[in-house]
């Protein structure tokens, strides 16, 4: 099961290297000394493009972003240093950023656990299938494959209050369907339904982890008279916990940048495109209920061209995301490995 957790394989690979003596590869330093100039040049040529990329597309923009966050920058003039004014505006004055952050938090706190729970539930059902296992897996995976924009457009149509099939069906049962994407209190739950429908990506990973749990552990537990619940609690869960953690972290990070589904749902439910109406008025429809943090950052940075302010918002996002990633890497033993 550690194979299912990619990061856990690092220390293992290392350990293996240290336990097989008598080969040059087992001793990194000695191998390095023996390496010829030619092989050093080949290795250099293999890593040069990504090294340039690391500096140009990652390290430089990370540092420049921090600098811009202390400036007033509109892309036309040069950035003007204004100290902490962007952060002051962000934390004390911006009328819409608080609501946007709360909406994003809703997706982190509700969408991620619900998606994980439904993925695990369906994966557990599928592990018992011997016949046609591939068919069932494909069926539940397919929605995750549909382009997000297409699935949002489809869902807004399905749930549209006037002619949508869902409310038409409800009407046949005598139920007056709600407004779904057009109701500020139901727009996020409607996107939750979409998120559960697209849970296949997580489900496939859980399914692989569940099938990897050693069978003899279950057999031993059965001999001891363990109930199904006990087997799940004491064998299944501990075995798949690295995969659960990894999926929770990637899920939270995806939720922190929740953008496409909310932006497209707002504009389709509103019946107008970003060209017909300014995106700053369109985003968040209905009533700012779908305005997420990254959408507000997009509007500030790339519609109002307050790039300094957008940079400050990005710094806050960076701090939160880095903290979440640190939890994962710490659990996976990356920090200890670095020190060794």
């Amino acid at each position: 099961m550690p194979d299912a957790n990619p990061i856990a394989t690092v220390p293992r690979a290392r350990a293996a290297a240290h336990h097989t003596p008598n080969t040059p590869e087992a001793h990194p330093k000695r191998a390095g000394r023996r390496r010829t100039l030619r092989s050093r040049l080949s290795i250099g040529s293999m890593v040069i493009l990504p090294l340039i990329g690391l500096v140009a597309f990652f390290l430089y923009p990370l540092c420049a972003n921090l600098y811009y966050s202390f400036t007033n920058y509109d892309l036309v003039g040069s950035p003007k240093w204004i100290g902490l004014r962007n952060y002051d505006y962000l934390f004390t004055q911006d009328p819409r950023v608080g609501g946007a952050a709360r909406n994003t938090l809703w997706f982190v706190v509700i969408l991620v656990p619900v998606r994980m729970a439904s993925s695990l539930g369906i994966a557990l059902l599928l592990t018992r299938r011997k016949r046609a296992a591939g068919f069932w897996r494909t069926l539940f995976y397919l929605p995750a494959l549909v382009p997000p924009v297409a699935s949002v457009v489809g869902f807004v149509f399905l749930f549209n209050p006037g002619t949508g099939p869902i409310n038409t069906l409800l009407r046949k049962f005598g139920i007056d369907g709600p407004l779904w994407f057009n109701d500020p209190s139901l727009s996020k739950p409607s996107l939750l339904l979409l998120g559960v429908w697209m849970m296949g990506d997580v489900m496939v990973i859980f399914l692989a982890a569940l099938l990897d749990v050693p069978k003899d552990q279950y057999e031993a537990a059965e001999l001891d008279g363990a109930s199904a619940r006990q087997k799940f609690r004491f064998i299944t869960l501990p075995n798949i916990s690295p995969v659960l953690l990894f999926s929770a972290v990637t899920g939270v990070i995806a939720a922190l940048q929740y953008f496409t589904e909310a932006a497209v749902a707002s504009s389709v439910a509103n019946g107008k495109t970003g060209i017909d109406a300014g995106p700053d008025r369109l985003l968040g429809y209905p009533n700012d209920s779908l305005l997420t943090y990254t959408q507000w950052m997009y509007v500030q940075g790339f519609n109002s061209f307050q790039l300094g302010y957008a940079a400050a918002m990005a710094v806050v996002l960076f701090v939160v995301a880095a903290a979440v990633i640190a939890v994962l890497l710490r659990r996976a033993g990356m920090f200890q490995q670095k020190g060794a």
């Binding site: 597309f57 494959l145 038409t168 957008a310």
Partner: protein, 275 residues
């Protein structure tokens, strides 16, 4: 005991069938609606009567669908090729060559892969604007020539599983590092390379945020994902046409999936990361 087992078997199958039904319903309604005549979609009908292709012909008449598909193909195809050029060699180095900073290097790849792209967006946008390429595909495609963290990570995981003995043997035969990579590693890691390519292709095909940021101001450079999101504006009541475009945008992805299903599922399960 046997009856109890039979009961739970039936209950599980019933639950599975019910779930499958719920998961299929959205697809079925979207496709059915795409075959309805214009007035029928306004009546809340559930079944097309009669089946009509008119929405599909109307879609091609009213929107530059061919252009949108061509743009998506250009964006996704070129990005995938550039990603392979830059990411396959470095993934081999990370997996199989021991050097002093290999731990740090892998740590950086993980962090770069996990951090949201927004944290570097502002300075990158400023650079692309400085070079006056906003509105073109360059900002979306060119970065892949310099590596994609997720692809490097995925390819490294595949390379790790190839036994070291093959490399030692190839080195004995007088191969340099490039020889080992191209003659031994690449042929053995074909499934991994295929998976990384498919992931990259789908990621670009489905991308909405990138085109919104960089090519939305130039309708000639809209890919299908962006075009579809903007399409409903002029057709806000004509759900039949909108569902036809939605179906068309999804079709290529589903077709590729069915041809490469095995590779695909292997790729996801090996990494434990979603594409």
């Amino acid at each position: 005991m046997p009856t109890k087992r039979a009961l739970s078997y039936v209950a599980e199958h019933a639950l599975l069938l019910a779930l499958a039904f719920v998961f299929l319903v959205p697809v079925v309604f979207v496709v059915l609606t795409s075959f309805m005549g214009g007035n029928q979609t306004l009546t809340g009908a559930l079944w097309p009567n009669p089946f009509e292709w008119s929405n599909y012909t109307k879609a091609f008449d009213t929107a530059p669908l061919g252009r949108w598909f061509a743009n998506s193909l250009l964006y996704a195809g070129t990005s995938t090729l550039l990603m392979l050029v830059s990411s396959v060699p470095v993934a081999y180095v990370l997996a199989k060559v021991r050097f002093r900073f290999s731990g740090v290097a892998f740590f950086v790849v993980i962090v770069a892969m996990l951090l949201p792209p927004q944290v570097t967006q502002v300075p990158l946008y400023a650079v692309w604007a400085h070079f006056r390429v906003v509105g073109t595909f360059w900002p979306l495609i060119l970065p892949h020539l310099f590596g994609s963290a997720f692809s490097i990570f995925l390819l490294r995981q595949f390379f790790l599983s190839i036994p070291k003995e093959y490399i030692d043997a190839a080195r004995m035969d007088g191969n340099g590092e490039w020889g080992i990579l191209l003659r031994i590693m690449v042929p053995m890691a074909k499934p991994g390379i295929a998976a990384a390519s498919i992931f990259m292709f789908f990621q670009c095909w489905n991308d909405y945020y990138g085109p919104l940021l960089y090519t939305s101001e130039n309708p000639d450079n809209w890919p299908i994902a962006y075009g579809l999101a903007s399409f409903h504006g002029s057709h806000s009541t004509d759900w039949g046409v909108i569902m036809a475009v939605t179906t068309l945008a999804t079709l290529p992805v589903v077709v590729v999936f069915f041809f490469a299903q095995r590779t695909f599922v292997q790729g996801i399960t090996l990494t434990g990361v979603k594409g």
